[in-house]
Symmetry: C2
């Protein structure tokens, strides 16, 4: 899915909990052909507000353009671009690795190196939970692939600004 020449950008959106807002946001990306790398949406501490985090592949000008378009959508309260400098980004992955061919010790060793948590074990597999940045997850996947990945699922990135402000009160520094 990723083109190596493109960069990853993270957009954080506060939206009203009205029916159809997620569809409008996703529809915009789909219509314009923007490449969504991951998307996650969940509730916030304000019952009327959800927060959507979208990671897209593109260059700076495309991302600014997307931000402007998303801001104009109905029920979108605020949009900010979160970078490695102005925010913390993290995701969670659940991954089932094969332990056939005497791999179990090596899989456990790898899981310890990455502070992964063992969440399920069978005679032929170990399932791990791992959290971290996109880069950390990618390094883990590179090292885990030779063991045999039975399946994996990832939440996609979620992101929060550094410092004491909230997205609601003060948008993070822009690109």
């Amino acid at each position: 899915m990723a083109d190596l020449k493109e960069m990853r950008f993270t957009l954080s959106l506060l939206v009203k909990n009205h029916s159809g807002v997620l569809q409008r946001v996703v529809g915009l990306f789909s219509r314009r052909g923007y490449n969504i790398d991951s998307l996650s949406v969940g509730r916030t501490n304000d019952d009327g507000v959800s927060r959507i985090t979208i990671v897209i592949l593109g260059d700076t000008s495309i991302v600014k353009q997307i931000k402007n378009q998303v801001e104009k959508l109905v029920d979108v309260i605020r949009v900010s671009i979160i970078t490695a400098e102005n925010g913390i980004q993290s995701e969670l992955i659940l991954i089932k690795l094969s332990t056939e061919n005497g791999n179990r010790t090596n899989v456990i060793e790898l899981s310890e190196l990455f502070k992964a948590k063992v969440v399920d074990v069978t005679h032929t597999t170990i399932t791990l939970q791992l959290t971290g940045s996109n880069n950390k997850i990618q390094s883990f996947l590179d090292l885990a692939t030779p063991f045999g990945i039975v399946e994996l699922t990832r939440t996609g990135i979620t992101a929060i600004g550094r410092g004491e402000k909230s997205l609601k009160d003060t948008p993070y520094e822009q690109l």
Copy 2:
């Protein structure tokens, strides 16, 4: 967003990485008025396949109906209902808590009890990363609310089946 009389159900979808598939899935939920509690989508180890996890509020008959409808959508490969018995469910939350009013020690104590990770600190806030089931996150939020939640963002649940099979090869046990 949640009606206490309703239950949470988790749907796991394998979809082809074609433009518009996420829009079709979200559109179905929006048109029918189904209540999405959280949604996350990310890549898998197969470049052509993404995995979507959707948590919905409803009763068993509604969930079965939704599953049948989602299965019929173009580019949807497989749909399964993941429960506490047949799978592992987890999400990641980033939360910025106020440490004004001498709260810092109490916030740190709470973070240790929940094995949360401190990811940012200012004079007036601490930002934590926490992972776990919906119930664990909710317990944490209940205890953290009195300190003052400046902002929070959550990935939404992602889920994987227990045992050695993958969703691709064998759908998990159904309701």
